[in-house]
């Protein structure tokens, strides 16, 4: 009896072990012992140039023999969701790039390791102050500045000249230029403006005196429906419906495709888009390098001249709180904030995270435009919940509605209600 029972129990255990064996087999080898590790670094989109990626990998692997560093490229779309799920797991990436407006969602949640201890070492007061603020919570630095990018206007010189127009000096002139160019060239976007591209809509609001949301006594008030914002949004609608033939519900990815096809006269886009436009014809994402002489660039003009308040896009870089190798991860982060690495970024049209390296941008007209635009750049509301507003897709839906020619006041009032609900929840 007892032997039988034992045998039966053993059978159960053995079959359990057999199954466990199958499961164990597929997950592969165990963790590396000692100080070496296979570090995973998440970078977003194609923003970081290949030269910088190469420098990071070789420098890290040279400094830490036996360790490897793998860069895993993530899409900007849906990044907040992806970071939330991955940073909370035990299989978290070690170093992650996060959009500057999204950083607060993670610094406030304890997703990142505290970097205050190395803040002086990686640059201290030399780091871009707006980005230090975006990456700090409770007086501690959790996400270091990585790079900043300004939005510039790229344009086709011949199209502008053929229409007898000059580079605009005010926002109103920019809009009227766009409408005139679209009228003069059938099928061409005078200003390329896909419906989901809300980043490019912000300058119109800011230049007309509007704000996205303001805080008073701990309560946020979304103000898309204020008279100033409405004036700006009406201008956005004018551009979207009369100057742009981009998809009314399209997004802003790969603007170089229509630009190179020759159906875009003015393209407002991050500065690094220049390298996408001029990418060699035989690369994976070919551009149109033959258009280099015809490619002009200027900073978006403001309502009263000068550079407009544009959205200060850019990234912060952080070490995951769940990283299995926080020390090695911190070393990798230090490399990314070294003068050498940041110089590579500057030379490729990204504004370096250190003020002292601004000169690495060079002196060509792109660099000049970046300098002008960056000086007037503005950020989205500094609320930890702002990332949730972005992730909800409400802004995209709103501007698609505007692009379709919807009632601006009505749409804006509905959007304000939704954003108030998210920011104050």
């Amino acid at each position: 009896m007892r032997r039988k029972a034992l045998a039966v129990t053993a059978l159960g255990i053995v079959s359990a072990l057999a199954l466990a064996g199958c499961a164990g087999g597929s997950s592969g080898g165990g963790s590396a012992a000692g100080e070496t590790a296979d570090l995973r670094v998440w970078l977003n989109g194609t923003d970081t140039p290949d030269a910088a990626r190469e420098y990071l990998k070789t420098t890290f692997e040279k400094d830490h023999p036996g360790s490897t560093l793998t860069i895993e490229e993530q899409a900007w779309t849906g990044l907040v969701d992806k970071l939330t799920t991955n940073l909370s797991g035990s299989d978290s990436p070690d170093v992650v790039e996060v959009g500057n407006t999204q950083a607060a969602a993670f610094t406030s949640a304890g997703a990142f390791a505290d970097l205050s201890g190395i803040q002086e070492e990686i640059g201290g007061d030399d780091l871009l102050p707006g980005f230090v603020e975006a990456g700090s919570y409770d007086g501690k630095l959790f996400a270091a500045p990585y790079y900043s990018g300004a939005r510039l206007v790229f344009y086709k010189k011949d199209l502008l000249a053929n229409a007898g127009l000059t580079v605009p000096t005010t926002l109103d002139q920019y809009v009227s230029n766009g409408v005139a160019l679209a009228k003069a060239n059938a099928g061409v976007s005078g200003i390329y403006f896909p419906g989901q591209d809300w980043y490019n809509a912000l300058p119109y609001i800011w230049e007309n005196g509007g704000e996205i949301a303001t805080e008073e006594g701990g309560t946020w008030t979304s103000s898309f429906s204020s008279p100033e914002s409405i004036a700006g949004l009406k201008q956005v609608q004018e551009v979207m419906t009369q100057a742009s033939s981009a998809a009314k519900d399209g997004n802003e990815t790969d603007p170089q495709v229509p630009f190179c096809e020759g159906v875009v006269a003015n393209l407002s886009a991050p500065s690094w888009v220049k390298s996408s436009i001029l990418a060699p014809a035989d690369s994976a994402a070919p551009g149109c390098p033959d258009q280099e002489a015809n490619l002009g660039v200027y900073a978006l003009p403001g309502k009263d001249g000068g550079a407009a308040h544009v959205f200060a896009g850019g990234s912060n870089i952080a070490v995951s709180a769940n990283s299995a190798h926080p020390e090695l991860a911190t070393d990798a982060l230090k490399i990314m904030l070294s003068d050498e690495y940041q110089t590579i970024l500057g030379e490729n049209g990204l504004v370096p995270a250190k003020i002292s390296l601004a000169s690495t941008l060079g002196t060509d007209e792109v660099a000049k435009a970046i300098g002008e635009a960056a000086a007037n750049a503005k950020l989205t509301p500094a609320s930890p919940r702002w990332a949730d507003v972005e992730a909800s897709g409400a802004l995209q839906d709103f501007f698609v509605g505007i692009a379709q020619g919807g009632d601006v006041q009505q749409l804006a009032t509905a959007l304000d209600q939704k954003i108030d609900g998210i920011l104050n929840s």
């Binding site: 039988k4 079959s15 779309t77 969701d81 940073l87 997004n251 992730a391 698609v400």
Partner: protein, 329 residues
């Protein structure tokens, strides 16, 4: 389950076969066999059950608990989660957006199940009729569609329906002679769901067709022939002979389709990234994702998910009970 039942039956029949042995021996051996027969299948089931409990049961329990908690992004990273009773549920049920999403999901599910079932059955009947060469050709075509990951398929379909460079706009213009340049297929919710239905149905038809085709090969030829001699037309033969034979297969396939289409995620989520207005096109699965992971409200998202689970279980039980009753009759 089926295999364990078979095991017991084998043991029982084994016992019967040992009848010629002497009475004393028979009693001893039969007794120990019966005991082993009772426990062996149970023990063999243990690992599978443990894995099922760990993989499916535990997350379900977690989800259920979470739906009664205040659970945001901070809780994901370790902050304690306070219990807030049924607040999440009252918030969800009081939100008109939820009811809109639910109604939309049910309609979408209905349209897709009907389309996939009708098309799948027609393809199966076709395969039953054509010669070997075309049967192989259709099978390979179906298998390719079945093997294509949903995300890849959606992105490729998205290219075809692209506003600026899509081949569909190009063809529509060539065929109809009207201006389809820059026509957006996704911006209008109805049109969005037509595109989504095409993608989902395209992916679902192979399964339906193969399963029903397999069933069709089991319908006795002579019954069909007799029906034909009695003057039954093609449709009558399908309705009165083939369908009753395949009823249980249809029930199972319909349940699976309902469940798959009600929780559809990939196709809708990927299409929303390509175009359209999220608020007007979200279905249950996508809405849960947007609420919990996108918006950081895991508690509320959990409540919606629990409601969805209850809905699915209700639908499944309804159909399973019906099919069991039919089997008994």
């Amino acid at each position: 389950m089926t295999s364990s039942v078979l095991l017991v039956r084998e043991h029982e029949s084994g016992g019967v076969q040992e009848l010629p042995l002497g009475p004393r021996q028979k009693k001893n051996r039969g007794g120990s066999r019966a005991r082993a027969g009772r426990f062996t299948p149970l023990m063999l089931l243990v690992p599978a059950c443990l894995i099922l409990i760990a993989v499916i049961g535990w997350p379900l329990v977690q989800l259920f608990v979470m739906s009664f908690q205040e659970f945001g992004r901070a809780q994901v990273f370790g902050a304690p989660a306070p219990f807030i009773g049924v607040d999440n549920y009252t918030r969800v049920l009081g939100d008109p957006q939820f009811w809109a999403v639910l109604g939309r999901s049910l309609l979408f599910c209905l349209a897709n199940v009907i389309t996939a079932m009708v098309l799948g059955t027609l393809v199966a009947l076709l395969m039953n009729r054509v010669n070997r060469f075309f049967k192989a050709l259709v099978s390979v075509g179906l298998l390719l569609a079945w093997a294509m990951p949903a995300l890849t398929a959606t992105i490729v379909w998205g290219w075809m329906f692209d506003t600026q460079y899509g081949v569909v706009n190009y063809l529509m213009e060539a065929v109809s002679g009207q201006d389809f340049s820059n026509h957006s297929w996704l911006i209008d919710p109805f049109s969005f769901f037509v595109v989504a239905t095409i993608i989902v149905t395209w992916g679902a038809v192979p399964f339906v067709a193969f399963t029903i085709y397999a069933g069709l090969t089991q319908v006795p030829e002579e019954v069909l022939e007799a029906a034909q001699l009695d003057g039954a037309g093609g449709f009558q033969r399908f309705r009165l002979v083939v369908f009753p034979y395949l009823r249980s297969i249809f029930v199972v396939v319909i349940i699976l389709q309902v469940i798959w289409d009600l929780r559809v995620f990939t196709q809708i989520f990927a299409l929303q990234g390509i175009g359209g207005i999220k608020e007007q096109t979200s279905t249950l699965g996508v809405y849960i994702y947007q609420t919990s992971i996108g918006g950081g409200n895991y508690g509320t998202g959990g409540a919606i998910a629990v409601i969805m689970v209850i809905l699915m279980v209700a639908i499944s039980i309804f159909y399973v009970r019906r099919s069991l009753k039919e089997e008994e009759q």
